[in-house]
């Protein structure tokens, strides 16, 4: 028994090593660079610099806007699709689900390049609608990440709950708003967090779409390629803080949903 315990524990060692080498250490390095200047002295100038520079603040707002609109579009597209998939008794349901997931299996750069060609056909000059193109690109890339978690929660939803609601006098719309929607919030939350955060940072999508606008990811990239490790690190750190804040916020919503008085959410 003792031997077994030891061996099981030791299975975790490779991951622990990985964790230290590639997560904990880089984080410390990031922290060090963010709060030092070129001479290696402690400074908060990088932090104050970020929040006083209208350019960086503008980029932050722009990224938030791109991420927000992308998430919203994804949600509006994904929820009905996931709902139909989860509630229908289609014989070829598996095939349909596959169709939604398939894009994830095709190489990312290939997909975006294809999208770029398509957009060029429709718009002529890609530079005319940079914001729209950013949202379209991100949506195209991240939509499956929104559909899957929502589909999962919806398909696990106990059908007798809907029947109970209708039995108690709720019509289809009311049953959806009061039962289905609140109970699918966990799926929505995990979908949102899987789309919102990457949409703020994934500048490769923009680059490949020849999009000249800057999001947070592109900002970090540009600082690093200009060898400004300190400024770049600080932005990365700020992004991390935003992510943590966002996660805490959405987690709070999930907890609320489980304990709260019904209907309060709506």
């Amino acid at each position: 028994m003792h031997v077994l315990k030891f061996s099981r524990k030791s299975l975790g060692i490779p991951y622990a090593v990985f964790l230290v080498l590639f997560v904990a250490l880089p984080l410390l390095v990031l922290l060090y660079y963010a709060f030092t200047n070129g001479q290696g002295h402690f400074t908060v100038a990088n932090l104050t610099g970020f929040f006083t520079d209208p350019n960086t603040l503008g980029t932050l707002c722009y990224s938030l806007a791109v991420a927000f609109v992308t998430t919203l579009v994804c949600l509006l597209l994904a929820y009905p699709a996931a709902y139909i998939l989860a509630t229908s008794h289609l014989k070829r349901k598996q095939v349909l689900i596959l169709l939604f997931i398939m894009p994830m299996w095709i190489n990312f750069s290939l997909r975006i390049t294809a999208l770029k060609e398509l957009l060029t056909v429709f718009e002529g000059n890609l530079a005319r609608f940079p914001f729209t193109n950013a949202v379209v690109g991100m949506t195209y890339d991240f939509l499956p990440f929104m559909i899957l978690p929502i589909y999962n929660t919806l398909s696990r939803l106990d059908g007798s709950l809907i029947e109970a609601a209708k039995d108690l006098g709720a019509n289809d719309v009311s049953a959806f708003l009061k039962i289905t929607l609140p109970l699918s919030v966990p799926g929505i939350v995990s979908g949102v967090s899987m789309v919102f955060l990457p949409a703020m940072t994934n500048y490769v999508v923009l680059d490949m779409l020849y999009n000249s606008t800057y999001i947070m990811g592109s900002l970090i990239g540009s600082y690093f390629s200009a060898y400004n490790w300190h400024g770049g690190s600080m932005i990365a750190l700020i992004l991390l803080a935003i992510i943590i804040l966002f996660t805490l916020l959405t987690r709070g919503m999930e907890d609320d949903n489980q304990n709260a008085v019904g209907g309060a959410l709506l």
């Binding site: 106990d158 007798s160 209708k166 039995d167 006098g169 709260a260 019904g262």
Partner: protein
Amino acid sequence: MGKYASELLTCDARLKNENWEILKMPNQNEKIIELKNITKTYEDGFTAVSDFNLYVLRGEFVTFLGPSGCGKTTTLRMIAGFELPTSGEILLNGRNISDLPPYERPINTVFQRYALFPHMNIYENIAFGLRQKKLSEDVINKKVKRVLELVDLEGFEGRSVSTLSGGQQQRIAIARAVVNEPQILLLDEPLGALDLKMRKEMQLELKEMHDRLGITFIYVTHDQEEALTMSDTIVVMSEGKIQQIGKPEDIYNEPKNAFVADFIGESNIFNGIMTGHLKARFCGGEFDCVDDVEKGTHITAVVRPEDVEITPVDEGTIRGTVSSVIFKGMHYEITVQSGRNEMVIQSVNTPKVGDTVGMRVAPDNIHIMIAEDNTNYFTADINSDFRLEFNGKVLDTSVTRIIKGSHRNEDGTLVDAAGDTIDPNRNRIIVSIQPQDIRMTDQVEEGLVDGYISNLIYKGDHYSYVIHTDLGQDFIVDDEYLWNMDDHVGLLMPVEKMSFRLKK
């Protein structure tokens, strides 16, 4: 209902019982709901309910009883509005409601797994139906309070569903339905998920609640004891059809066919034949009976275990060897093997295993039914390979193949769809086969059983034979060719023509 509801609210909360009394409708003899020629066929062609006709009186406690898959839940769901009948109509107070959606029917349901809303607290769960009616918060508040008193869960308003025990969730589910003052309350196996003790308590509580509220209850269960305990009327169902409708006593004492007799209570059921005026031959003996059935008619004889009298060997109508004696508290359950037949007896006497005893049944305790369908039933053993064995021969099938949902667990034990263990030593399989599916052969040893033709009747286009076997059991075989009386024949029974049922 509106008038009653408002009166209800003006009453003092302390007079809880009297309050609910008001709901009792004066006219007890009018039909509240009527199902006419209801048939439900699913898209895949499966007919769950066929030509179902039933009316329920106002204030009645009606139970749909039957094994799983008999159509009882489908019928309930059609009354609730979750399923639409393929044909036929449902009349509520004389009005056709067959096509109304569930939310427009003054009917509420208590679901099998409660179906409480997990994201709402108890108060909101119960208030859900009232909020749909757009009642004022004040009224809702009072009603919720009142109904929580009714189910003995005062002060639970703020609790979340997940902190409640199964029994408490059950009560909340009932409260959530009852608070809407439905004309009919539907209960879909509501006690199935509770443990035995809790179940017994809730049975009495539900019965009491029914008496107090005066609401019509339609209850679905597969538990015959539950049905006998609670119902005013029992509807026994099998394979989508009503087998019998009646009071619990009538269903128990006068079962209409072998299925009902077997399903309700413990029964010894034998195939037999009338051998003379008020004389029936079954289980290897000739018994006097009180049912006047024409000589030569194939019959099914039902004998309740408590009606069999154990006698000294030579005083019994039949004799047998005691194969088991189990203490059951109030009595002993004694199994006696008589030829191939098995007689289960409830008695306060205690013969020893291995004793040879005589058995006697008073004529009025033998219930004779004319075998309409002449189906042959026999009981097969389960051997150690989980295959079926009968008359020392192994049938070409296994338990997992014939009992729907049964499977082998990781530890090698066999369990049925509900997860109960199937024990080869205790469980047996009741096999049924139609007379026309059995073939007779001169190669006696090829048959699953062999015996002598003891009776034959010409039925217009075929002969109906009774084959008397050494097992003490008679088989009925239809054959278009003429065989002679007393011919020694083997009976070929193809496995694919058999149907099977687990005997617990």
